[in-house]
Amino acid sequence: MKDTEGYVTADGRQIGGVLMEMRDITLKFGGVVAINDISFDIREGEIRAIIGPNGAGKSSMLNIISGFYTPSVGEVWYKGSKRPPMKPYEVARQGVARTFQNIALFEGMTVLDNVMTGRLTHMHAGVFSQALWWGKARDEEMENREKVEKVIDFLEIQAIRKTPVGRLPYGLKKRVELARALAAEPSILLLDEPMAGMNVEEKEDMSRFILDVNDEFGTTIALIEHDMGVVMDLSDRVVVMDYGKKIGDGTPDEVRNNQDVIDAYLGVPH
């Protein structure tokens, strides 16, 4: 982590305008209030972390951003306009890609095919062209294969590209999942606990990849993570949630010194 310390501090980089804004989001499941009136924004080019103790509603928030849940109250603003209610696949087509807390790869397919599925939203050849493997379908296949190979090179998974995903170890699966999300060339990349269950070395690798993605492609990243060291080092701004409420928002240093946040994590004497 030491060698990347230089550009994790937000000073050097230019952060753009607001890319996505959550306005007064409330999410209820029956009587349970998972998210209670939360607002925050994600700016272009930044690494935004959402943290909080277990059950705080972080994953629910990510599911709202990716369109899997529709908020009970509140609005999602994306690229300057209010997002109407839409299906998850439509949200994905607008440039929102994500990875999952429990790896959600397509186990029966090779790494290459998995990453190629990330390009689905960019491929438009018709059924007949595909059936004949001729014309548009074939050209598209080759173009997108080239883009996918760049992602594969970037994440250093060349050696396993023809291996079925089911045979890979956990750490590599996480990386393949990141590759699939990256292949979509998203405007905003959502990472749900990218380091969960990894050892120190794998965490270092993953942190480096996240920073590189942000640095080289300028991709906006929103991530959920439990490893405080990683979050504080990686992210530019942090939202802290507890019991569905926002208790802190700001740079890592601000959050670290916020009394509510310290109480939520360490507990308060009753």
Binding site: G108, M109, T117, L132
Partner: protein, 358 residues
């Protein structure tokens, strides 16, 4: 040794994604091609045509259609027999209503009707999965067979309630009906089956294939990366039913010659499903291997005792066949769920590194 891949380098993504990245595969296919194109048809007896060559290809095609739906897109179906029936009846109605129609065109068009019916019965798949979907397709199975029986228009108000394939010609030669030669029918079936197989290989290795496989492996993740599940499932139903329908038309027009509604009853669905399972779900080659096994087994069981001089009654042969097929299915489900195709793949992998496995 035989399968050495050393020295075969890929310098472009195009060559890496070619159909036969390994030369030996193309060579092997060439040999198989020689057999099916020349050696088999020129040496086969009428018996061989009617019990092995033609039915193997037709069953393989039906299983291929089912495999698109169940093996690639992960939607379990028990209605294959009925969808074959839709193809057969559609073809029959077309050639009797429009006698000038080229029978080959009619066979290829009949799939369009079964595709439509398939999509209709595929709509429940948008809400239900797995066994529940299987039950919904079972409803299609029973409903359609009932329709074949009750809707007299379908069999032109025949007294027998069965459809009889008329004698039809292409370029002056009979291709269907009692007057057609087996060898002609063999080549027609071979041509159509080869064409369909080629299209399926292309579909399954391309974008649509990945969409289907993603839907099969994890539908929630598939939707979150931008796959429209409704479109993915319904295209699978349409293309699968199209192929199954063409197989059904071939089944009656090129092989059986006549059909009653109960021909398309659930035993046919199961037979095709067994071929797909034993051959290997999610494969193209497996359908052929499975069809050879399922179609060939009773033939072999009939021939072996006769040549050995054992007296086994035909009823006994039938029972033996059912028992062997049944135990094979249990065997494959436990030992090799990916079927014969996987066995071949393992053999091939071993051959490539043989004789130095490290």
């Amino acid at each position: 040794m035989l399968y050495r891949t050393a020295g075969q380098f890929k310098t472009s993504y195009k060559s890496d994604q070619a159909l036969f990245p390994i030369k030996q595969d193309a060579f092997l296919l060439g040999i198989i091609g020689l057999f099916v194109l020349a050696i088999f048809p020129l040496t086969a007896s009428e018996f061989a045509f009617q019990t092995m060559l033609i039915p193997v290809m037709i069953y393989a095609l039906a299983a291929l259609g089912l495999n698109i739906l169940t093996g690639y897109a992960g939607q379990l179906s028990l209605g294959t027999g009925a969808f074959m029936g839709v193809g057969a009846y559609a073809c029959y109605k077309m050639v009797t209503l429009m006698p000038w129609m080229n029978p080959l065109v009619a066979i290829l068009l009949s799939g369009v009707f079964s595709a439509g019916v398939g999509v209709l019965f595929g709509i429940p798949s948008l809400r239900i999965k797995g066994f529940y979907l299987a039950i919904a397709t079972l409803a299609a199975q029973f409903f359609l067979v009932w329709l074949f029986e009750k809707w007299a228009w379908l069999y032109n108000y025949n007294a027998s309630g069965a459809i009889q394939v008329p004698n039809l010609t292409v370029f002056g030669g009979y291709v269907t009906g009692p007057q057609a030669d087996s060898i002609v029918q063999y080549y027609v079936v071979l041509g159509i089956v080869a064409l369909m197989t080629m299209l399926c290989i292309n579909l399954t290795r391309g974008n649509l294939g990945r969409t289907w496989k993603a839907t099969r492996d994890m539908d929630i993740a598939a939707e979150l990366i931008g796959i429209n599940l409704m479109k993915s499932k319904l295209t699978a139903f349409a293309i699968s039913s199209y192929i199954v329908g063409v197989a059904g038309a071939l089944y009656v027009f090129m092989w059986k010659g006549a059909a009653e509604p109960n021909l398309f009853d659930i035993p046919l669905s199961f037979q095709v499903l067994f071929i797909a399972i034993i051959g290997g779900l999610g494969s193209v080659l497996g359908n052929y291997l499975g069809a050879i096994l399922i179609v060939g087994l009773p033939v072999v069981l009939n021939l072996v005792p006769a040549t050995l001089g054992l007296a086994i009654s035909s009823a006994m042969v039938e029972h033996l066949n059912i028992m062997i097929v049944g135990s094979l299915i249990v065997f494959f489900l436990i030992v090799e769920p990916h079927g014969l195709n996987q066995l071949w793949r393992l053999i091939r992998e071993k051959l490539i590194i043989w004789p130095f496995p490290h």
